[in-house]
């Protein structure tokens, strides 16, 4: 599946089927710091994603005095 990451925008290819939780773990992303969007809908971390899916992983952390944090996850995120 195609996974679009933001800030900065980039795209990675991830093999399915896998749960959102596993995809995030592989990418080293703390699930509490992102929205996961399939097509036009939010999905929870238990959702199973398959090869044809278009996924966006959108950070929700904004950088302090302002906007948008880097999407960098804390070390040791689950």
């Amino acid at each position: 599946m195609k996974v679009r990451l933001r800030n900065p925008d980039r795209e990675v290819e991830v093999a399915g089927p896998r749960t959102v939780r596993d995809v995030l773990a592989d990418l080293g992303i703390n699930p509490d710091t992102v929205l996961v969007i399939r097509g036009r809908a939010l999905v929870t971390r238990e959702e199973r994603l398959s090869d044809g899916d278009d996924i966006e992983i959108r950070p929700v952390i904004s950088g302090g005095s302002g906007p948008g944090g880097t999407a960098r996850p804390p070390e040791g995120s689950p």
């Binding site: 933001r6 800030n7 703390n30 509490d32 710091t33 929205l35 969007i37 809908a41 939010l42 999905v43 929870t44 971390r45 238990e46 959702e47 959108r58 950070p59 929700v60 952390i61 904004s62 950088g63 302090g64 005095s65 302002g66 906007p67 948008g68 944090g69 880097t70 960098r72 996850p73 804390p74 070390e75 040791g76 995120s77 689950p78």
Partner: protein, 335 residues
């Protein structure tokens, strides 16, 4: 995963409430948290005129949407910071939001109205870019609210913003700033009331709310944010939260509900404020921090070169922008 309320398919999980929600029930959950924040701290009266500081980010636009939905008389205030493409896009997004809802939008532009933009101020002034940006916002929000006859300024600070700021202030034991960090700041001479109705909602929740409501917001970051300290505090808090769910909430809500009163007294009488000789806004000095910063950026002299004793004694409000530039819009786009 099932919705806690209706058992339908869940789209979002809120771990600290140990709950998942479908879209409709999640919107309801968010509205309830906001209503509770407003009620617990008497933030708004039903017929208050509310000025929402909107940046184009998820928090401030979500807040505007929520307040309109709850029936408040809420206008938006957008401050153009002149940060290139980022500001252009933020302005477009805010205007589109206001247009779709037929809501009143007030626009102030730093370059047009005050003669400078944030990138220039960051290069020419003695403060960091974010500090001068925070100072400019605080000033413009208050002034625009007073001039427009608004009762209150509402900002989109969420739980993560507030927890990160509190952590920063606590690590340095900045007791004066801790004392001033509260979901509502009462009005006083020359300063309108300021409220943060989203302080009970995490960043994940405000982002999910904006998304579910179909609000178009700016996801990109301000290009000047790099190295921001508050971001590091957020990362630390998120790492704690990942292994120990609820830490952030306990830290912030525990402060608001139990610890805040311990910091409030003992500060002595409130500092006396007098009108700035340049602009008339309240200050402890002859000229307010904003006018001083602006004069420095524009290379102007404010008055006779006599030493100004007031400059050394700024109000906590003025100083706080220099220590930890707490974003006035909340975590969302500041642009």
């Amino acid at each position: 995963m099932r919705c806690r309320r209706c058992r339908g398919a869940a789209v979002i999980e809120v771990r600290r409430h140990n709950a998942a929600f479908c879209g409709d029930c999640f919107e309801r959950h968010v509205r309830e948290q906001v209503k509770r924040a407003i009620r617990d701290h008497a933030m708004l009266e039903p017929d208050d005129r509310v000025l929402v500081a909107v940046s184009g980010g998820k928090d401030s636009l979500g807040l505007w949407d929520l307040l309109l939905g709850l029936g408040y008389r809420a206008s938006g205030l957008y401050l153009g910071l002149g940060i290139g493409e980022y500001s252009t896009r933020s302005g477009d997004v805010v205007r589109a939001f206001a247009g779709e809802r037929g809501a009143e939008l007030i626009e102030v532009d730093l370059r047009r109205d005050y003669g400078y933009d944030i990138p220039t101020a960051g290069r020419k002034g003695s403060r960091s870019t974010c500090a001068v940006c925070g100072l400019s916002k605080r000033y413009v929000f208050n002034r625009a609210a007073l001039e427009g006859g608004f009762d209150v300024v509402a900002t989109g600070h969420n739980l993560d913003d507030e927890a990160a700021t509190l952590l920063g202030n606590t690590l340095r034991w900045q007791t004066e700033y801790i004392a001033r960090q509260f979901p509502v700041l009462a009005e006083r001479e020359g300063m309108v009331r300021k409220v943060k109705p989203l302080y009970r909602l995490s960043e994940l929740e405000t982002a999910a709310y904006a998304f579910i409501r179909g609000i178009e917001y700016v996801v990109e970051e301000c290009p000047l944010v790099a190295g921001n300290t508050q971001l590091r505090y957020k990362e630390v808090m998120n790492a704690l939260e990942a292994t120990s769910v609820g830490t952030k909430t306990q830290f912030l809500l525990g402060y608001v509900e139990r610890a805040a009163p311990l910091f409030r007294d003992g500060d002595g009488p409130p500092v006396e404020l007098t009108p700035c000789e340049r602009c008339g806004q309240p200050t402890t000095a002859r000229f307010c921090a904003f006018c001083r910063a602006r004069a420095q950026v524009l290379g102007e002299r404010l008055g006779p070169a006599e030493r100004d004793p007031g400059t050394e004694r700024q109000t906590a409000e003025e100083m706080s922008s220099e220590v930890l530039p707490a974003e006035l819009y909340g975590a969302g786009r500041a642009g």
